[in-house]
Symmetry: C2
């Protein structure tokens, strides 16, 4: 019986192993400087932070530890957004090992504090993240400022949940926080319904998620037009010939378009599905 922390690492490994996942590093495709092994090392590195969440450390502190460990590899930011989903999920899974109810997750993250928010901003110091411009009144707490934003966060008495709420229009992971992790939970159920081995289901879920909403990581890096194009084209590829998906995957790698938010939600769904026994390995 795997612990919640082991299950979370396994979810991260399954996510990166599922192929094809157009634009992202997977078993078959990688970038010259961001390779498969960096994701393996990132997942293993996150373990102490994930264990801290199981042991009841606050979400912010556990997340900061997880990100510090994840980023201790040479590929750069591999799984920041994934951990922002997995840390609260793991914390609740450890509390309530029976069901991992969406409401329990929301209750848990609504209870985050200003200190959790400060830890989140410190975690940003370990990585380079792609983010859109914040709303005009939120420039002082722009995530791109990293730890420099902490005084403004304290002044405004923002909890980590508040910070996520402010970013939820910009970032699909933040939107999960304020929507009861709805795409992650729906994705977990979908993993149970799809056919084939767990890695085939992972790849199929990824395409479906990519087709359902423009990826915010793509939008922040390449703009809304590109994000919408990728979303529409993914829609045409659901149940398409594998060769067509492979071609799309190769094209996106060539264009350096990687739908990272969709990968994050895929990993969240994998964790929930593993925890609930919807999928087994």
């Amino acid at each position: 019986m795997r612990s919640p922390a082991q299950r979370a690492v396994l979810a991260m490994l399954l996510e990166v192993a599922g192929t094809p996942k157009p634009g992202n590093v997977d078993r078959q495709r990688e970038y010259p400087d961001l390779r498969f092994e960096h994701f393996l090392a990132g997942a293993i590195g996150a373990l102490p932070g994930l264990r801290a969440a199981v042991e009841g450390r606050s979400i912010g502190a556990a997340f900061e530890t997880a990100v510090a460990g994840m980023s201790d590899q040479e590929g750069g930011n591999t799984q920041f957004g994934t951990l922002l989903l997995l840390v609260p999920l793991v914390a609740v899974a450890a509390d309530d090992s029976s069901s991992l109810a969406p409401q329990a997750v929301t209750d848990h993250i609504e209870a985050t504090t200003v200190e959790d928010a400060a830890a989140f901003y410190r975690a940003l110091e370990h990585v380079s993240v792609a983010a859109g411009d914040p709303p005009a009144d939120a420039a002082a707490i722009d995530v791109r400022r990293g730890a420099d934003a902490i005084p403004a966060v304290r002044d405004r008495e923002l909890s980590l949940y508040d910070v996520m709420a402010l970013g939820s229009d910009q970032d699909g992971v933040a939107a999960e926080w304020t929507s009861g992790f709805d795409r992650s939970f729906a994705g977990a159920a979908r993993l149970g319904d799809l056919d084939g081995g767990v890695l085939d289901r992972t790849a199929d879920l990824f395409i479906e998620l990519l087709a359902a909403q423009p990826d915010t990581h793509v939008r922040n890096q390449h703009g809304g037009t590109v994000a919408n194009e990728i979303c529409e084209r993914a829609g045409d590829l659901i149940d398409a010939d594998p060769a067509a998906i492979d071609q799309f995957a190769t094209e996106l790698i060539d264009r350096e378009i990687n739908p990272g938010t969709t990968a994050d939600i895929t990993a969240g769904a994998l964790f929930i599905a593993l925890h609930r026994g919807v999928i087994t390995v």
Copy 2:
């Protein structure tokens, strides 16, 4: 900074991710019932046993825990032999984080007891292993008997080291125990000398090890003639065209010939190389 246990899991993940590794599951090839995800889950499952070794639990108890966790997946025996190398290596790495000297490993395993041997036989209950016929005077302690062999092990007062010494002609992992882990240490040094990313080096080392000695797992499953054939043909593939190695890899999967001992030693070499900083990820 990864802990020794994290480093050992990473070594297991890098081993299975290196491709092509003819005959074995890797990123590109798998068997219908023994797939890439089973190796990912096996590596993560081994973690509590590896941590037990770091924390000073006896080699046998840590190994039994590691194997129980490793085998908690649906593919069957993925990494039994690998863990038989990694558990003592991790234990010594935790004691002596500076250098991991071969003599320290030998000293550590020579100090194993009858209880370590009993735990090893209990660990066999979790998996199905391929083993050759034991010497005539060792039928009572045949590893294929699993825990049933424990009374005979106690009668003869055999330590785990003694058991490995009795099996060293039959099994390349046992031979590592009695030879100062010489192939693992030499492999670690070789990983530093080879070119390319860590997974390319992993695949190159695998071919070199396969060419250097007939794989005992292949010999136990398919006989000496086949093991010698694979060894000789691997020799022709060192520095060969990648297409030729790919063709050989596909052929071995078709013939269900998997050089598992060579993979085990590759994983041992990866752990040592990671620990010493000979390779980085």
